[in-house]
């Protein structure tokens, strides 16, 4: 599992700083709204040929005004996994009837549908997350629900500490003679490391709660988190484009349903 990038210990998550693209400059609200529309349109894709067109459209929209080739590079592991999905279903899908040797056509179609959808969804998510730092995402979260946003922001401070504590605990137990080879030993090692970390974290929870109280959190609920205005000129067209994409897919879906 990758741990998300960090710079000077501050979590930067999937944020990509390389370019200051159109998507980088767009307000979070616009980005989120467009992503939601695009995702909805994608989910509504009625058949594989439409899905191919949609995938190409989405990837172009993500790459060209966005982080560019860097985004495609992020998709690499998913492309490999997608190929595995296609192969797996070509071989083993129970719907396979039209076959060439080991491979089945129905399974191939099924696998391709899943694979294209996966790549598009990940592409969309990367588009949003590569152009928005996690701190900004979570701060936007707090404008919806203050407590939940706070939980996410607190995690940004807590997680690096927790990882450091895990390392220290691992070292401490190793100086006491802990070692692991067999499966059982590894499971035991897991327990000797996770238990102190959990208990220490609970003590820290009391400390964090104390600080929240002392720093006046939850006293006056009317405090506003200030945010840049959501709809700015120059971004209308992208909202319109996303809406068209969603609407077009909806129309195609409805038409095909009515025909049958």
């Amino acid at each position: 599992m990758t741990e998300g990038n960090s710079e000077n210990g501050i979590m930067t998550g999937l944020y990509y700083e390389g370019t200051k693209s159109f998507w980088h400059r767009a307000p979070v609200k616009t980005k989120l709204f467009c992503s939601a529309l695009l995702l909805l349109g994608l989910v509504l894709s009625v058949n594989i040929s439409i899905l191919v067109v949609n995938t190409l459209f989405l990837l172009t929209l993500a790459v060209v005004p966005g982080p560019g080739i860097a985004l495609l590079r992020r998709l690499k592991p998913f492309v490999f996994f997608s190929l595995f999905i296609v192969l797996f279903h070509s071989l083993l899908n129970p719907a396979n009837t039209t076959t060439w040797g080991w491979l089945g056509w129905e399974g191939f179609l099924y696998g391709s549908t899943v694979a294209l959808r996966l790549v598009s969804i990940v592409g969309l998510a990367q588009l949003f997350l590569m152009t928005t730092p996690p701190g900004v995402v979570f701060r936007y979260f707090s404008s919806w629900h203050r407590d939940m946003g706070l939980i996410m922001l607190l995690l940004m401070g807590f997680l690096p500490v927790l990882k450091e504590e895990m390392t220290t605990t691992m070292q401490a137990q190793q100086t006491r003679g802990l070692h692991w080879q067999t499966l059982l030993e590894r499971l035991q090692a897991y327990l000797t490391m996770i238990i102190p970390v959990i208990i220490k974290s609970l003590y820290r929870a009391q400390g964090m709660a104390s600080l929240l109280l002392l720093r006046g959190y939850g006293e006056n609920q009317d405090v506003q988190t200030h945010f840049t205005p959501a709809w700015t000129k120059g971004y209308y067209w992208i909202v319109a484009l996303s809406s068209c994409f969603c609407a077009a897919n909806l129309v195609i879906l409805l038409r095909s349903r009515l025909m049958h």
Partner: protein, 470 residues
Amino acid sequence: MLSIQSLIVNYPLKQQPALNNVSLELEAGEILLLIGGNGSGKSTLLHCLAGLIPGIYRADVKGSCHVKGLVGMALQDSDVFLLPTPEEELNFILQNQSLTSEKRQQKMDQLISTFHLTPLLKRTIHTLSGGERQRLALAAAIASNPVILFLDEPLAQLDSSFTTEFIQLLQNLASFGTTIIISTTFSSQYEPLKAKYCWLHEGQIVWQGSKINFQGKWGQARSAGIDVDGKGLFIRKGNNETTYQKEKATGAIPVLALEDVSYSYGDTFIMQEVNLSVMSGEFVALTGPNGSGKSTLLKLAAGILNPYSGTILIKGKNIAGLSIAEATAESGFLFQNPDNQIFQDKVIKEVAWGLKMRKLNQELIPNRVAKWLKRLQMEQMAEEHPYSLTKTDRQWVALAGVLVREPSLLLLDEPTHGMDCASTARFMDVIMELAEAGTSVLMVTHHQELAEHYAHRIYDLKHGTCRQVR
């Protein structure tokens, strides 16, 4: 401003109340120095006054406790914080108040200059040194302009250069009407402060009065674990100050030897060509400012970290390439925080675990554990759950877990952190006895006086170079 009437606080299932019939009155602008040893109830009292009990720390509270006005507080553990960077942390506090953005910025600038935070603002809090973090915690405590301020051991870890400034700041705040309570076991450090003294012992106020009158109580206070004159750390078994022979022990091969050791983290060298040795039965202290790499050096000696260049020998054997468990076959490492390692549900099991891991003959283990629990006077807590003990007692549990292996080299990382004078002195007694019996000790401490008093030799680590200062 603040009045407590016969306050009784009971933690669940504890026989003794944490606070027993405490009454206290303070006017605006007064400073109170709350003195007491470990477990005297100082922190409980502050938690109660700040409103953390019973909402966050569960306890049964009787009596009355009136605090008028906005409260600010610095916790004992400055390593607890909320957000990634100091800037965000301070902004969070200011945002929770109804201030205009100019006022907020003004306050921010003021805090930054008072506490010298400019170079820290964009760094991550968990990578700050103890002293830097303490400065941030203190800035955070006064950020909301509180009229009542509670500080739990505020000078701990603070660089001495800033201490004087900070004491002056407290005096200023008081003159503008802020009521301040400071809790500490080291009353001598607050000598310059114009304050009322209040001595808490086993949950009760045993004495209240002025600084001058407190001098008459020094003898008693000292035996309660309070450092009244800066010499509290050096009392050994009643026969007051003792000195140890500081002759350099000689032996054929050093038990621990670092030869031209350099260590780098990424591209930056933390230490360069360090030479250090510990002979058999020798107690060597390693001092140096916050964040100078003292703990790193100790971890190198334990094989936890690998040097960039140079060799580390334990009893003449190079530990390069060994696993941590193998490298520490001869040595015992005591980490600063005992909670990093305690995971068993009984003290006796926790202490025995190290022996089990080291594959000591099963039949010998109970005897060995009993022997060391007895020697450290811990028999009565053998069957207790480690986490029901106080932090100081957990530090003893961790020490027992190290000593039970009877290592010939002890590596101690700030072992007396957070202990009062009585506990520190008891701890040092144990260590000195071990050294006299032939165990070699390398102890990291930021406490200069402690090192001066006990160690045979002292190394000082500063700016990546290590030199023997005595």
